[in-house]
């Protein structure tokens, strides 16, 4: 029984290496897990669940295969009749939106067999309440972004955008990307870090001593001084997948740990 957390893959057709790393991740590490949480910025850009580009379809199919129950019959040894054709239950998949793919909605999630999580949300992780966030809402020093975030999360703003044609939305996304280099940057120094006050506030108001988030591209494990009860909390930050695979693994026997893997090059 293990649970995995990843975030900030920034999947995009221009980076087939990241898609390939994710494909391998799903068929290797993730096969040993029971549940996978993707905590935002899974896609570099998301212009609506109705965008049926071949790339989006491919990713949806990967996730469908992951969440779908499968026959575990051996595929190479047909003659081996002793193997039973038992059914392996599908994996649990949870999606949270990030600041890039915040238009991702229920339609896409259900198409993939996933559950869409609100940001923030508290889960029971093997007995420990654990707060999950993308992390952008913790960067309160970035007042300009915080203002945009509030606007962009409003129903009205989203409806206005989603009512435009796919072509129009694609053009807007391209324009936004060209306008600001930092919008498409994977570098941590182009993204503001969280403010400690925001972290402490949200952890205390959610009554948790553990927070898992991504967004900042600054993977690390931090201890957090929680004033209320003199407790030391823990903040685990996922990394982005620009050149490495970052993932948090938790199980009933082991506290969550942050892992980093190289992209799966074929080697001896």
């Amino acid at each position: 029984m293990t649970t995995l957390f990843i975030s900030d893959l920034h999947l995009q057709p221009e980076r087939p290496d990241i898609t390939r790393a994710f494909e391998r991740f799903l068929t290797t590490q993730a096969q040993a897990a029971d549940a996978l949480y993707i905590l935002g910025d899974f896609f570099e850009v998301w212009i609506g669940d109705d965008d049926d580009s071949p790339f989006n379809q491919h990713i949806a199919e990967l996730l469908q295969a992951f969440t779908k129950p499968t026959d575990t019959k051996s595929n190479s040894t047909k003659s081996n009749s002793t193997k039973s054709n038992s059914t392996r239950p599908g994996k649990e998949l949870y999606l949270m939106v990030g600041n890039r793919d915040f238009l991702m909605g229920e339609a896409f999630a259900s198409r993939c067999g996933a559950t869409l999580l609100p940001d923030p949300c508290v889960i029971d992780l093997y007995g420990t309440p654990t707060l999950l966030m993308h992390g952008d809402s913790l960067c309160t020093s970035d007042t300009e972004y915080m203002a945009f975030r509030e606007q962009a999360r409003s129903e009205m703003w989203q409806q206005a955008l989603l009512s435009k044609s796919l072509d129009e939305r694609r053009a807007i996304a391209r324009q936004l990307r060209d306008q600001s280099k930092s919008m498409s940057s994977m570098k941590a120094e182009d993204i503001m870090d969280v403010t400690l006050d925001a972290v402490v506030n949200v952890m205390q108001s959610s009554q948790v001593s553990r927070l898992i988030h991504g967004h900042t591209h600054r993977p690390a494990v931090h201890s957090v001084a929680l004033a209320d009860n003199n407790l030391s909390g823990e903040r685990i930050v996922l990394g982005d997948w620009d050149s490495k695979i970052w993932c948090i693994e938790a199980s009933a026997d082991a506290a969550p740990t942050l892992h980093c893997y190289d992209f799966p090059n074929e080697q001896p």
């Binding site: 391998r24 068929t27 290797t28 050149s243 893997y261 799966p264 090059n265 074929e266 080697q267 001896p268």
Partner: protein, 164 residues
């Protein structure tokens, strides 16, 4: 008998269909379907191995076929001038990329059916063109497109021919 026609000369290899039937058949299939034509030896480490069969000269990765079962428990050793399959961390992930051992690499041999011990499946050996392999292992290498140990001048597998 398989011949790798490279811009450095021909390398002949013999596949071991008895001990590595799946892997040998997979290699033969890739050779016959021309998958290897135009691929390069993209990872060259003298004193270890030379690896190829997956990238083109401009370091574009070719989309390979399905992965195959790892037959590294067949008793064949990763000795000098043997040919084995490259793979990812997953033992059963080999597709097309292969490598030629340029020294006895005992640590690549099968020791157990677990992720650390599976080893790398030897499926053939070089029978002619050792001098070509020796030339390849000695070339100048550098970092290209995020990959290390890439030869400065591409070592191209122009064609692979299969004789009955």
């Amino acid at each position: 008998m398989i011949t790798l026609h490279t811009n450095f000369g021909d390398i002949k290899l013999e596949l071991d269909f008895d001990k590595a039937p799946i892997t040998a058949a997979n290699f033969k299939k890739n050779a016959e379907s021309d998958f290897y034509s135009g691929t390069i030896f993209h990872r060259v480490i003298d004193g270890f191995m030379v690896q190829g069969g997956g990238f083109t000269a401009d370091m574009e990765q070719k989309e390979p076929g399905d992965s195959i079962e790892n037959e590294a428990d067949n008793g064949l050793k990763n000795d000098k001038y043997t040919v084995a399959m490259a793979r990812t961390m997953d033992p059963h992930s080999a597709t097309a990329q292969f490598f030629i051992n340029v020294k006895d690499n005992d640590f690549l041999n099968h020791t157990g059916k677990n992720s650390h011990g599976w080893g790398y499946c030897v499926f053939g050996k070089i029978t002619d063109g050792m001098d070509v392999v020796d030339q390849i292992k000695a070339v100048k290498t550098g970092t290209t497109g995020g990959h290390q140990d890439v030869p400065a001048e591409p070592i191209v597998i122009e064609k692979v021919t299969v004789d009955a």
